[in-house]
């Protein structure tokens, strides 16, 4: 009976497209990352681990891109979680016009990153940008910076823009998590005379843990794939200062050296498959615990 009302071809449609256009290219990539594949020569030769040696050699700049990607991922996870949690608690604390504020604060999340990047190129402009103008207007002109072209500031600015865009999204998820916590815990704690900090530390945080796991996984997967933010704001500059893995992949693509590019993606592919696997395990364990 199950075979008759739950036919396999219902799954097969999705599965075919997914395998052909997402899974097959990834595995082909693993194979081709051991070759000198490029856009000029027809012939493809097996060159062993050379592409990986190039990526992990200190003469090249790829390690810097990998480092930046890791720094970006960790700092956006921390900042978006902390800011998102503070915002969620604030929105949840009986303020007026709650849903209005939620709609506004979530808004940056639905605007294309490309557009956000263009807008912030104007806002962060050293001469006429809104931030430097504002700093000058309140007499703090010594704090003005070349936000996107100064090597000390460029990557921090990129992270800040990304946090501006993403914190609202994390807030909305954490807010839903907060609202799912039963009031009776807080009432019991009030009777026992618990302080606000104790309630936060011993009720909110433990009960919010599953939701925090989810936001961390989302931020992690997003952070490792970062491309548009960097591409639009600095395109890896000044020099190669703000390169991340995906901007380097794109450079390899335009240069036509597909072997190195596909090796870079393969490094990401392996990392993300392992992390994705453990994240799903982690989340489905929490699911079955409930």
């Amino acid at each position: 009976m199950t075979r008759r009302i739950y036919p396999f071809y219902f799954v097969a449609i999705v599965l075919c497209f997914y395998v052909v256009f997402a899974v097959v290219p990834s595995f082909m990539g693993i194979y081709l990352s051991f070759t000198d594949w490029n856009s000029y020569a027809e012939e493809i030769n097996f060159i062993g681990l050379d592409n990986y040696k190039t990526i992990f050699s200190s003469d090249e700049n790829y390690i810097h891109g990998i480092n930046n990607t890791v720094i970006f991922t960790i700092s956006t996870i921390v900042l978006k979680t902390v800011i998102g949690l503070l915002l969620a608690i604030l929105v949840n604390s009986g303020i007026k016009l709650k849903s209005f504020h939620r709609v506004i604060i979530f808004m940056p999340a639905i605007i294309p990153m490309l557009v956000v990047g263009i807008i912030f190129k104007s806002i962060l402009h050293p001469e006429y940008g809104l931030i430097n103008e504002a700093l000058r207007a309140i007499g703090l002109s010594q704090l003005t910076q070349h936000w996107l072209t100064d090597a000390d500031w460029a990557f921090k600015s990129i992270i800040a823009v990304d946090v501006w865009k993403g914190a609202g999204y994390i807030m909305v998820i954490l807010l839903a998590g907060l609202q799912a916590i039963s009031h009776s815990y807080y009432e019991a704690a009030d009777i026992d005379g618990a302080s606000a900090w104790q309630k936060f530390r011993f009720i909110t945080i433990p009960l919010l843990m599953p939701t925090l796991t989810v936001t961390t996984v989302l931020n992690l997967l997003y952070g490792l794939k970062v491309f548009e933010t960097v591409f639009v704001l600095t395109n890896g500059g000044p020099g190669y200062e703000t390169e991340v893995v995906y901007t380097q992949v794109f450079s390899q693509f335009t240069l036509g050296s597909y072997g190195v590019g596909t090796a870079l993606i393969t490094v990401l592919f392996v990392t993300m498959t392992v992390m994705g696997y453990f994240s799903i395990k982690l989340m489905s364990r929490e699911e079955s615990n409930e």
Binding site: P112, I118, I265, M275
Partner: protein, 274 residues
């Protein structure tokens, strides 16, 4: 005590207003500068425009060839998200109902795609084999594929709320699987299906990396790529760039404001079980 509470309340309200303003300022900046003249907008700020230049929008539509780009974006996002929603719902229905070992594996295998990075290099070869390279259909197919894992995830979760008795009743009434799915199950899945449809529409509308890699002819560009190139050409004319940006984000903002209930449930479902 009363006074303390009052201070706490008003400081919270002030804080949330400041945050909302920080979130909305860049968008307001664009709106205000889109109706300025070029010299007025040369330094993007909040000075009010002397006259409202609504013809900026006409200029942009003409110079940026936005009619065709708008049509392209609409087609890419519309078709791919409709197909993705339908196909994912069918898969989620069978995977959630017939939980064999193999189907559980398939579910995890598909959902893992949320983490999977696309390999832009080898994908070219696959697109060549399937004759999809540099075509509109190619972009639609890949957009659909990128949205499948998350869609299956949401719809699969929602299937738990659809009673199994429905299947049995329909079976006794002599329904085949297609009729059972389309006239009984799919209508029940509607809230989740709307969410998936909206989310995949927004995601694909906002995407620009894939066309950046693959589309070399300007008449196939979506809005996002058109804006990017327009920005490259008219970097000094912030009024026009702003107008172009508004036209690009307008559909997204309208869909967001109308469907925000669905968007928020979709984005939080799976992460929170109330």
């Amino acid at each position: 005590m009363m006074e303390n509470k009052l201070i706490k309340n008003s400081s919270q309200n002030i804080a949330i207003w400041i945050i909302s303003i920080i979130a909305i300022i860049p968008i307001l900046l664009i709106v205000i500068n889109a109706v300025k003249t070029a010299p007025e907008a040369s330094s993007m700020n909040f000075d009010f425009p002397s006259t409202l230049q609504f013809n900026n929008f006409m200029t942009v539509i003409e110079k940026g060839k936005l009619v065709i780009s708008f049509f392209n974006s609409f087609m890419y996002s519309g078709i791919s998200s409709i197909l993705c929603t339908l196909a994912s719902a069918m898969a989620a229905y069978v995977l959630a109902r017939n939980k064999t070992r193999f189907n559980r594996f398939l579910y995890l295998f598909i959902v893992m795609g949320i983490a999977l990075p696309l390999n832009y290099f080898t994908l070219i070869d696959v697109m060549k084999w399937t004759n999809l390279i540099n075509t509109r259909a190619g972009i639609i197919v890949i957009y659909m594929v990128t949205q499948i894992p998350f869609s299956v995830f949401i719809l699969y979760g929602f299937m738990r709320g659809v009673p199994r008795e429905l299947d049995e009743a329909a079976l006794i009434d002599g329904c085949g699987p297609k009729r059972l799915f389309f006239s009984v199950i799919f209508p029940m899945l509607q809230p989740a299906a709307v969410t998936v449809l909206i989310l995949s529409f927004l995601n694909t509308w906002n995407e620009f990396v894939l066309p950046l890699y693959y589309l070399n002819s300007a008449d196939k560009w979506p809005m996002t790529l058109a804006v990017y190139n327009f920005f490259g050409q008219f970097e000094q004319s912030w009024n026009l760039v702003s107008a172009d940006i508004i036209l690009t984000i307008m559909p997204v903002v309208i869909i967001y404001l109308l469907g925000q209930r669905f968007i928020i449930t979709g984005m939080t479902s799976g992460s929170v079980k109330g």
